[in-house]
């Protein structure tokens, strides 16, 4: 298996006036192509920070980050934009759909960025929203909105999909449905997923689990037999 994402001794320090907040202290991780990785850790442990750096919307203070053989930690602003555009799909902690655009238009906004996007309707069909394509975000439930966000990430055909608490704002049943969609895409299309959560139960469905605490990776576990989303309960 090939490595798709690698962190080498990555540090992130936020300067808050005189106080330094250290969000990441020497993180080393690697994610392989086609893996479904879950990052677990308590609130404030640095998960979102790590994900933002992986996705090229934030930069490490120190250390190196590689996407395949590309060192993204040394890219400039416009190169990072191209990196995000062509390789990364984001699913944010808050749904972050554009409220004035319909579900389909939200997905199109992303599709238009790449040369060979997937068919927008097909992607909406995959996440089970074929019939809601022309609805505005405010007309949809939280789970439906989150699925639109997943479709928006998928439509670009990204190499890696980064999800920040994708089920955090969803009820149990809806959350499981969203996870099912992700897992299917991961298996059928061999897309790599990096999913951040503080919900330990979700870790059971991962190929690999990375544990965070105080800005450090404290443990990495490989799951020999990952559970199906339907088997989870919280």
């Amino acid at each position: 298996m090939k490595t798709i994402l690698r962190f080498e001794d990555v540090w992130k320090v936020y300067k808050m006036g005189k106080v330094d907040v250290v969000a990441l202290r020497g993180v080393n991780i690697s994610v392989e192509e086609g893996e479904f990785v879950v990052v677990l850790g308590p609130s404030g442990s640095g998960k979102t920070t790590m994900l933002n750096i992986a996705g090229g919307i934030d930069r490490p203070t120190k250390g190196k980050v590689f996407f395949r053989n590309l060192e993204i930690s040394s890219l400039d602003e416009s190169e990072l934009t191209m990196y995000r555009r062509n390789h990364v799909g984001f699913v944010f902690q808050f749904f972050n759909l554009i409220p004035t655009l319909t579900a389909k238009e939200n997905v199109m906004l992303s599709a238009e960025l790449v040369e060979r996007p997937r068919d927008v309707d097909e992607v909406l069909e995959i996440v089970g929203l074929g019939r809601r394509a022309n609805h505005l975000p405010t007309e949809m439930s939280g789970g439906e909105q989150q699925r639109v966000a997943i479709a928006r990430a998928l439509v670009k055909n990204p190499d890696i999909i980064l999800c920040d608490e994708p089920t955090g704002n969803l009820d149990f049943e809806t959350g499981k449905r969203v996870l099912r969609v992700m897992r299917d895409i991961n298996r059928e299309e061999e897309r790599t997923f990096l999913l951040v959560t503080h919900n330990a139960v979700i870790a059971r469905m991962a190929d690999k689990v990375i544990y965070f605490r105080d800005g450090k990776v404290v443990r990495i576990e490989e799951n020999e037999q990952p559970a199906e989303p339907e088997e989870l309960s919280w």
């Binding site: 602003e77 416009s78 191209m82 944010f92 972050n96 554009i98 409220p99 655009l101 199109m108 906004l109």
Partner: protein, 753 residues
């Protein structure tokens, strides 16, 4: 990119009233500029064409009666193209029981090459026939073929009207001592020379001469030679084309129009730029989270800039396109309305590519320039930070002194200070509203002030009679006061520049007073004379300096004192001083008395009638100002409404939280009212000085040599403006409060951003 365009259109729709309001401003700016400026150019082209067609004179000279044969001598001067010598006289006539003034002018040959008469109806006059100025004829319902009865120096003449005509000299009728002439009360008759000889009793004589020349560069030289020829008879007045009274008045009037055509739309576009800036800044502030997402998806900074400029572009395209079309109609309407008050037989219209280009450029640059700042700011947003949800860095403040007020008052006051930028936008919006309403109202104040200054302060007499016998006036029934005055022309010349004005000689009395711009009364100096500020400045005359001037009684010398005067500035001197210099009183000002009695002594000007005429003539201006008051008020309303509603809507999540915490709608509303009125008061305090400055700007731009409008703002204007603003603020809160009352708390918190 396509979907981002869809988003821009949706953004527009989501705040359509706000966007339409700013688009309307751009539209108005473009429409008024292209419309008014094109009509200015149309009018200029029209009078140039007319002057050319009718061989408008290059030089004119007036003198005491001289032999007609001298015309040949002038014709012989090299460079002279055509000459006409003529006689003039003043007459009166009764039209439907109303006395009107007439000026009789001997008509040049039919194929004369100077000041040709432009025949509209009928034929050239013969024997006892006359041509009559078309507009005057229409207004008084006199038509060709009719016989009119006129009176000159007590003698009556019957003349047949052979037709109606226009003349380049009388596009606007102006006399040196009177520029406010109503076209209905003052007519021009073009009379064959031999009839004029008979009427004036000056056989074989002429009193004025009009010349056209081949090359304008030689105007001074030729004028000097002409002056030389008539010097022995006594010169009364002379001028080059640009000093011809009718032409000069027309030019000044057009200049004022040009200023308005430029300044008024500019003001609108400046306000539009502010409004666009405020609208877009607020939108970007609201959409920070969205921008972060778009950037995270892989859109570049550049696409963000383009996206937010797209909003400006939509405003520009709609506003400019509609503006240019409307401008076309405004131009046509304005041109014909303007020509309507001029004595011109036709008008030309054109499409001016330069004006079109400027209009379109202004229509695009205004919103785009205002938008580029916000678009750039939007592009600089750091997605990683914005994504965390906290967008606006609120300022923590601590106002100890508020401790004794209720919690909601404290919240209200804190809100004002908490987000300085938002507060500043709101304040600017309110101040702009204050400027619009206050200056519009001040226009009306200023017109009233003008009438007050002219007819309640400067001239408080009832009649002015052309008559030198004051005791004859005093003997008439009901005459309470009567004083002799001198009213004549005067002309200053210095190092090639010459300026003419009116000289008024006043005895000690209170019916005709001198005021300066600040309303302070002055008296003619015991020796010397008060001269208008513009003359002192143009000819660099310092106070107390001895200057020479040309007058009816020849060259006089006196000490000059400059005074900035409101309305029409003139020269003032002590009557006794003028008498010593050889002037004779030629008019009597009268309080009381009856017009019918006074008429027997000479030409009468009734001040009451003059005031009526002036008001009538200002009708067009009045409606323009009334329009601008309405417009200003509605604009201010829209502006403030906009600002206030956005101010509340922007905070809907915060307000939803307050509602969830258990505050009642009534409590939140009270807090909003306190906050809004607090802002309103600060906005008023900011707005009034801005309004005064704007007015000052108008004062400077309206100022001309012949007229200076006293721009004032009455206390009532302050009061009305404040009331309108506060009321508008109160009303603008209603939809927001209704919104809060009906607010579905969960839907608001679900929204992203």
């Amino acid at each position: 990119m396509k979907t981002l365009f869809v988003k821009a259109v949706r953004d527009f729709k989501a705040q359509k009233w706000q966007f339409l309001a700013v688009t309307f401003l751009v539209f108005l700016g473009v429409a008024l500029f292209s419309g008014l400026y094109s009509s200015y150019l149309n009018i200029e082209a029209t009078y140039k064409k007319f002057y050319h067609e009718t061989n408008f004179e290059d030089l004119g000279i007036e003198f005491n009666p001289a032999p007609k044969e001298l015309v040949k001598k002038v014709k012989a001067i090299s460079g002279v193209k055509a000459v006409v010598g003529r006689l003039t006289a003043y007459a009166t006539m009764d039209v439907e029981g109303r006395g009107v003034q007439l000026k009789l002018v001997s008509i040049p040959d039919e194929n004369s090459k100077v000041n040709s008469v432009y025949l509209v109806e009928g034929v050239y006059p013969q024997r006892n026939e006359v041509l009559i100025l078309k507009k005057f004829a229409d207004l008084n319902r006199i038509s060709a073929g009719e016989t009119i009865h006129i009176e000159v120096n007590g003698k009556s003449y019957a003349l047949r009207v052979s037709g109606t005509a226009y003349s380049p000299e009388y596009v606007l009728i102006a006399e040196r001592t009177n520029v406010l002439i109503s076209p209905k009360d003052y007519g021009i008759l073009f009379v064959p020379y031999n009839v004029m000889e008979e009427i004036t009793g000056m056989k074989g004589k002429i009193t004025e001469l009009h010349v056209s020349i081949y090359d304008k560069d030689f105007a001074d030289e030729i004028l000097n030679r002409v002056k030389g020829i008539f010097q022995p008879y006594g010169l009364k007045n002379f001028y080059k084309q640009e000093e011809q009274p009718g032409y000069k008045l027309l030019k000044l009037d057009l200049q004022g129009f040009e200023h308005i055509a430029f300044m008024f739309p500019s003001l609108l576009l400046i306000i539009a730029a502010f409004a666009v800036y405020i609208l877009l800044s607020r939108m970007v502030m609201e959409q920070i989270g969205i921008i972060a997402v778009i950037r995270a998806l892989g859109y570049s900074k550049y696409s963000i800039i383009l996206h937010y400029l797209m909003h400006s572009l939509i405003i520009a395209v709609i506003g400019t396109t509609a503006g240019v079309f409307a401008g076309h109609y405004i131009s046509a309407g304005m041109t014909s309305a303007y020509i309507d008050v001029l004595n011109l037989p036709y008008y030309v219209t054109g499409i001016y590519p330069g004006i079109l280009a400027i209009s379109i450029a202004a229509g695009f640059v205004t919103p785009l320039a205002a938008g580029i700042f916000t678009a750039k700011r939007a592009a600089e947003i750091e997605p990683a930070i914005a994504m965390r949800g906290y967008i606006i860095a609120y300022r923590a403040i601590n106002i100890e002194f508020l401790a004794k007020f209720s919690i909601l008052t404290r919240v209200a006051v804190k809100n004002v200070f908490r987000n300085p930028k938002r507060t500043l936008y709101t304040l600017l919006g309110i101040a702009m509203g204050v400027v619009l309403i206050a200056t519009s109202l001040a226009f009306i104040d200023s017109i009233n002030e003008m009438f007050y200054v002219q007819f309640d302060k400067i001239q408080t007499f009832d009649y002015k009679v052309e008559c030198s016998d004051v005791s004859a006036v005093k003997r008439l029934p009901d005459v309470r006061e009567a004083y002799p005055i001198v009213e004549t022309w005067i002309r200053f010349e210095r190092s090639g520049i010459s300026k003419s004005s009116v000289l008024v000689g006043l005895p000690g009395q209170d019916l005709y007073s001198i005021y300066d711009l600040h309303g302070k009364r002055h008296f003619p100096p015991p020796e010397g004379m008060i001269i208008p500020q513009y003359i002192a400045e143009n000819l660099s005359i310092s106070d107390g300096e001895v200057v020479k001037a040309f007058t009816d009684v020849g060259i006089v010398k006196f000490r000059a004192y400059s005074l900035p005067q409101p309305l029409m500035p003139v020269c003032y001197a002590n009557l006794e001083e003028l008498k010593k210099a050889g002037f004779k009183p030629n008019e009597v000002i009268v309080k009381g008395g009856r017009e019918s009695d006074l008429k027997k002594l000479g030409r009468v000007v009734s001040l009451k009638k003059l005031e009526e005429t002036t008001r009538e003539m200002m009708g067009l201006m009045y409606s323009f100002f009334a329009f601008s008051v309405l417009f200003g008020a509605s604009l201010a309303f829209a502006e403030i409404f906009n600002t206030t509603t956005i101010n509340i809507l922007e905070r809907r999540r915060e307000i939803a939280t307050l509602r969830m915490l258990g505050y009642t709608v009534r409590e939140i509303a009270a807090s909003l009212y306190i906050e809004t009125f607090l802002l309103g008061l600060i906005g008023l305090v900011m707005g009034f000085p801005m309004a005064v400055l704007t007015l000052k700007g108008f004062e400077i731009m309206y100022r001309s040599e012949m007229f200076r409008m006293p721009f004032v703002m009455y206390p009532s204007t302050y009061a009305i403006t404040a009331a309108v603003i506060l009321l508008t603020l109160a009303v603008s809160l209603l939809p927001a409060i209704k919104y809060i009352a009906r607010m579905e708390i969960e839907k608001v918190t679900k929204e992203t951003g």
